[in-house]
């Protein structure tokens, strides 16, 4: 005879509660194509849900904080004239404290989301190792650290609206090239340097206290990988 205790009782309730879904096929075995309106509405729900997570930061804010510099600012709150510079394929509006990059001249990518695959840099500056990985529909963030706790942040994001703001106070902006397309280098007084570029309909920012050459080398090493497999391989599952 096996007598039950409270823990057994909870286990039994769990078994009983789970049994009704035993026959539900695995997620990937269910062949249902959701209607276009479902996808549209659900994306809206997910977008709105970001503000529902009361204390949460959006991923782009998180990325900004990780780099300690890429602070996303609201252009509408700061009324100063900008120095508009065209970098052939995009505009940089330099407001002094921050700069707005306007990709809207590029093909629209507003509806493109990160799904099963994301880009990752296959080349990492020597001495750095992956420390954090996070990928969602709107962003992928990878944080690399060296033994002195210096960081390099890699950020892939959906170009909703086609504009991004970066903290460029006391910084020098200049043009460079990634995959033979114009990109932006921001070099700040505090030695932090970041590279902003667009590829395959996404915006990327790589930031760290490393050389411009290293940033570009990392940028041009990006490759698409399966998110789950990458997570597993790097112990983030």
């Amino acid at each position: 005879m096996q007598m039950a205790n409270k823990s057994d009782f909870f286990k039994m309730l769990t078994i009983a509660a789970s049994s009704e879904f035993e026959d539900v096929p695995n997620e990937k075995e269910i062949e249902h194509e959701f209607s276009k309106s479902f996808d549209k509405k659900t994306k809206k729900i997910i977008k709105n849900s970001q503000s529902t997570f009361k204390n949460s930061k959006t991923l782009k804010r998180v990325a900004a904080i990780f780099t300690a510099s890429l602070v996303i600012l609201s252009a509408s709150t700061i009324q100063i004239d900008s120095l508009e510079t065209m970098f052939y394929s995009f505009f940089v509006n330099d407001y002094g404290e921050y700069s707005e990059i306007d990709w809207s001249g590029e093909p629209s990518v507003i509806e493109k989301f990160i799904e099963e695959e994301t880009y990752i840099p296959t080349y990492i500056t020597q001495g750095y190792e992956i420390d954090l990985f996070d990928s969602g529909m709107f962003d992928t963030i990878i944080l690399f650290r060296d033994e002195y706790k210096n960081t390099i942040t890699f950020h892939q994001k959906v170009l909703g609206g086609g504009k991004s703001n970066y903290n460029t106070e006391d910084a020098e902006l200049r043009k460079t090239y990634v995959f033979e397309k114009e990109a932006l280098i921001v070099e700040r007084d505090d030695e932090l340097i970041y590279l902003v570029f667009r590829h395959d309909g996404f915006e990327f920012a790589i930031a760290g206290i490393i050389s411009e050459e290293e940033l570009i080398k990392m940028a041009e090493s990006i490759e698409l990988v399966n998110i789950q497999e990458y997570k597993q391989a790097n112990g983030f599952d």
């Binding site: 205790n5 009782f9 039994m12 997620e27 509405k41 659900t42 849900s49 529902t52 997570f53």
Partner: protein
């Protein structure tokens, strides 16, 4: 700085968890809803409503300890929403009157159930319960949810859930008595 990172991780978890649910359960949610409603359009609506409710309640959902509980939460929430669309269920929802005459405290209930009977006997009794009672007991005792939290998860009135908990506890004790278990443990 550490405090900042802790906050960051906590907040991030909610978002990651929500996206995990969306990517890993939306087809199963549809399957469950469609099994009840047999209507693609209504089933997609149910999935959407359930996702919206989940998004609003991520803080309590993120505390679920493992994938089994997460799956149960998501699919039960979906199924109950689908059931609530059925005309028969809609009517029944109007008739809620909590009968507290047989209510016993959770501690007293657990004392009566545990340590006085065989494992298989109680498992049989649980399996004999109606799923509405079984689910309410599961949410309350295993997931540790209050009646209000269960009501939010299942899209029911708090009074309905309180009623199900009272009746579920009573029914389980009755079933064990019928099977020869003395509720007083004698």
């Amino acid at each position: 700085m550490l405090a900042f990172y802790q906050t960051l991780i906590e907040d991030q978890t909610l978002k990651i968890e929500f996206e995990h649910i969306y990517h890993n359960y939306k087809n199963q949610m549809f399957y469950v809803a469609n099994s009840v409603l047999k209507n693609t359009h209504d089933s997609e609506d149910v999935v959407q409503e359930t996702l919206a409710s989940i998004a609003k309640n991520m803080k309590s959902i993120a505390n679920l300890s493992d994938e089994v509980h997460l799956k149960n939460y998501v699919l039960k929430a979906t199924k109950n929403r689908a059931l609530n669309l059925l005309p028969k269920r809609k009517k029944a929802k109007e008739l809620i009157d909590i009968d507290t005459r047989y209510d016993i405290s959770d501690d007293s209930f657990l004392d009566k159930i545990c340590d006085n009977h065989e494992y298989d006997e109680i498992l049989d009794a649980i399996n004999s319960l109606k799923s509405t009672y079984k689910d309410s007991l599961y949410y309350h005792f295993v997931l540790g949810y209050s009646a209000k939290e269960v009501a939010i998860a299942l899209d029911e009135k708090v009074a309905t859930i309180k009623q199900r908990l009272v009746r579920g506890k009573k029914k389980l004790i009755e079933l064990l008595v019928e099977k020869g278990f003395d509720a007083n443990g004698e």
